[in-house]
């Protein structure tokens, strides 16, 4: 509440397309190098996570996550108007789940085939 207030434009929409975990990301900028739409910019401070400059141009291909060799450093975020309706129901119990829910069930750790 008592933080400094700047004159800034509204955040771009969708607000963010990927989230970096600064504890895992070492700022190697490999994701910056391969992002097709150049959504990401290198952080002026070396070794820090890239800056998401153009979240509005993210194609949501997930290639940055595939390219990253530090698992967990990058998390993809879908636009809320799409993710909010990704719902599923557990057949046995009838419980309802959705992407982004407050108390999600434990992850399904089975990797893709191959």
């Amino acid at each position: 509440m008592d933080r400094k207030v700047y004159m800034v434009p509204n955040p771009s929409t969708p607000n963010n397309s990927i989230e970096f975990d600064p504890k895992i990301c070492n700022g190697c900028n490999q994701c910056v190098e391969i992002c097709r739409t150049d959504v990401l910019m290198p952080n002026p401070e070396k070794g820090k996570t890239p800056i998401v400059l153009y979240p509005d141009e993210c194609w949501r291909c997930g290639c940055c996550v595939q390219e990253c060799n530090r698992p967990g450093a990058i998390t993809m975020i879908h636009p809320l108007n799409q993710s909010v309706v990704v719902n599923w129901k557990r057949k046995q119990t009838g419980e309802n789940f959705r992407l982004g829910m407050l108390n999600p069930p434990p992850p399904n750790i089975r990797p893709p085939s191959g």
Partner: protein, 659 residues
């Protein structure tokens, strides 16, 4: 962490642009074969040209390692007619595809795809792509051939579409390109084709480009050029507020625009489809039973399963029947072939009257995809293999959903809740179609049996050719066009670039840097162009609306577009894309004007010519610019089987394939 708005609220200065600014600086390059676009078709073209010993240079707007519409992966490999298990010949597949398309399709491209799709996949396997069930995870499954360990989709009897582990296909192609010593120029947007004497309709001798990180200008001389620029988007709909585009965001038809300006001939530009634009859902992340999810049971809110039917209305009571052709049906073509579904080729599907049954209360919304009803092999194939490898699904769907706890063994994935009529197609995630929100229908360059355009020195592959669109087809045609361009490059004489053409282009390219900052930006302009396309070239078209649309596009080019402002090299690229989109829109409108008939096959509704596909209009209408004027020609559907060509697909292929 760290979005820009957050970053700048930290008492730090606004960061400088991180790349050196080199506006106006020229780099001159020279190569034997120039490939425009580093997507699937471009990479295969480059690799196959390079293998013949010529020098190859690839120009890509994004980053070749992952970019292009097929850059994020592939799960289905279509038209693999020559794989050892296939029961369908390339001739038969091509004939059915041409027939189902009403003739409005490119014979050479279709046949080359059917002949070389499997070869292109074997190329990928050699580069390290997994195309077989080497771990025996699917041993005993109906869709697996135990000898070759190949796995098939849709039609398990005829085996022409393969299931593959394609999530890393692009990095593998990239590694091969590097190994072969192909020059790759990433972040370079191609802006024009250079032509002999700087004139329209003459031989293509290279291209110009601009770097979207530095603003540097490139002049590239080449003996042969392959247009491999894919399928355009952002022509009818554009809104970054809700979601991204269905097509690769970078692809707005730069290839179309530069080829058009050079005098290349196009066909099928008048075709398009309705879509749900920014209101679509995450591709394949919603319950559905289509394409990657083909065969998945759909149940209603109370668990009642929606029945499946074959083309003759025969109910398919068991799961294995969904993957077999109907009695008397030669084969099911499968999905993703960009061939209209007709009686001959159609796949089995959910009850065609599902909308009516929902209205009557027989099925209660929401509907769900219930993978748990499938045998383990089928369930794992859909979610673990297909969703795990398809473009834009490995991370965006498999990774995101499983991390959030979704378990295909136990959970029902909900379909979008929509009006009943939206459930007519089992491709539920595509949402409610708004008829005047259109998506590219497959227009592109007219090519001959060398996959060469009407311009000497200009070859085409993948989505740059009319009638194309699938990953395997891009790979196969890239393979072929790369060989042909290399052969031409070896014999072609070198030509001198016309400096006047370069200077005119350079002036156009940098105009957005010279404007006032308060002028219009690329996003608003893109959306404005789209509004013209929606209204004047949408579901219904007529002489008057198309002419009015052309006038509006011309005005937009002269007014708002001339005031377009770009603050960075990145914005410069996006600004130039607006020039492209206007040109592409003009081609689509001109092509729509040329066809004075409606067409079921082209999804074209002319209000003033409502009769669909009358016999006199059953032909291609190739269209091009000559001395700045639009010229419309006529081409019979089977132009590729008429003189000077041989009368059969096979003979033409053997005469031209260069193998």
């Amino acid at each position: 962490m760290v979005a820009w708005t957050e970053y700048i609220q930290r008492d730090v200065p606004i960061p400088d642009w991180p790349y050196p600014i080199r506006y106006g600086h020229e780099t001159e390059l020279k190569t034997d074969v120039l490939v425009l676009g580093g997507g699937i078709s471009g990479c295969h073209a480059a690799i196959n040209a390079r293998r013949t010993g010529v020098k190859v240079l690839v120009v890509e707007k994004g980053a070749t390692k992952w970019s292009g519409s097929g850059g994020a992966g592939v799960d289905h490999w279509i038209a693999a007619c020559t794989n050892p298990c296939s029961n369908i010949t390339p001739e038969e597949h091509t004939e059915v595809a041409m027939q189902s398309s009403g003739g409005y399709d490119c014979g050479p491209l279709r046949y080359v795809s059917c002949q070389e799709s499997w070869d292109a996949l074997l190329d990928c396997e050699q580069m390290g792509l997994q195309i077989r069930d080497i771990n025996d995870e699917f041993k005993g499954a109906d869709f697996r051939d135990d000898k070759t360990k190949l796995m098939f989709a849709y039609d398990y009897k005829n085996k022409i579409t393969l299931r593959v582990y394609g999530h890393n296909v692009k990095p593998l192609l990239y590694r091969e390109m590097r190994r072969l010593g192909i020059d790759i120029y990433d972040r370079v947007m191609v802006t024009s084709l250079l032509t002999e004497g700087g004139k329209q309709g003459t031989r293509v001798i290279g291209a110009t480009g601009v770097n979207v990180r530095t603003g540097e200008f490139y002049i590239i001389r080449a003996n042969a050029t392959v247009l491999a620029t894919g399928l355009p988007g952002r022509i009818w709909t554009f809104s970054t507020e809700l979601r991204s585009t269905f097509r690769d965001f970078n692809n707005v038809g730069d290839g179309c625009a530069i080829a058009w300006n050079a005098g290349a001939e196009f066909a099928k530009m008048e075709t398009s489809f309705g879509e749900s634009g920014a209101f679509s859902y995450i591709e394949y992340a919603m319950g559905n039973s289509h394409n990657t999810w083909y065969g998945c049971p759909i149940v209603d809110a109370r668990g009642k399963e929606v029945p499946w039917f074959d083309r003759d209305g025969r109910e398919l009571k068991t799961v294995p029947e969904r993957f077999q052709p109907a009695p008397g049906q030669r084969f099911m073509l499968g999905l993703g072939e960009r061939v209209p579904s007709d009686y001959e080729n159609q796949v089995n599907s959910l009850a065609p009257d599902l909308p009516e049954r929902i209205r009557k209360g027989e099925f209660i919304l929401p509907l769900y995809a219930d993978l748990s009803l499938l045998p383990e092999h089928e369930r794992r194939a859909i979610f673990g293999l297909m969703v795990g490898n398809e473009g834009k699904t490995r991370i965006p769907v498999y990774d995101v959903l499983t991390k959030a706890g979704f378990n295909p063994d136990k959970d029902l994935l909900q379909a979008p809740v929509m009006s009943p009529e939206a459930y007519e197609s089992p491709n539920f995630w595509s949402g409610m179609v708004v008829p005047h929100w259109r998506i590219w229908g497959g227009g592109g360059l007219v090519v001959n049996w060398d996959l060469k355009s009407n311009l000497d020195g200009l070859y085409a592959a993948g989505g740059a050719i009319f009638g194309s669109g699938a990953h395997a087809s891009a790979a196969a045609s890239g393979r072929y066009a790369g060989r042909k361009a290399a052969a031409y490059a070896k014999s072609a004489s070198e030509l001198i670039v016309d400096r006047g053409q370069v200077d005119r282009e350079k002036n156009r390219v940098y105009t957005p840097l010279k404007q006032n900052k308060h002028n219009i930006g690329w996003k608003e302009l893109n959306a404005g162009i789209c509004r013209i396309m929606q209204d004047y070239c949408g579901e219904y078209r007529s002489e008057e609306t198309l002419r009015a649309g052309l006038r509006l596009l011309k005005e937009l080019r002269e007014s708002e577009t001339s005031m377009l402002y770009a603050a960075t090299p990145h914005e410069l690229g996006r600004a130039l894309e607006c020039h492209t989109i206007i040109t592409v829109g003009e081609i689509v409108m001109q092509a729509s004007l040329a066809r004075k008939a409606s067409s079921m096959f082209l999804n074209l509704s002319r209000l003033d010519f409502p009769t669909k596909d009358p016999p006199e209009w059953q032909k291609l209408l190739p269209i091009k610019l000559m001395d700045g004027r639009v010229e419309v020609g006529e081409l019979p559907f089977n132009y590729h089987l008429l003189s000077p060509y041989a009368p059969t697909y096979r003979e033409n292929y053997q005469l031209h394939c260069g193998l």
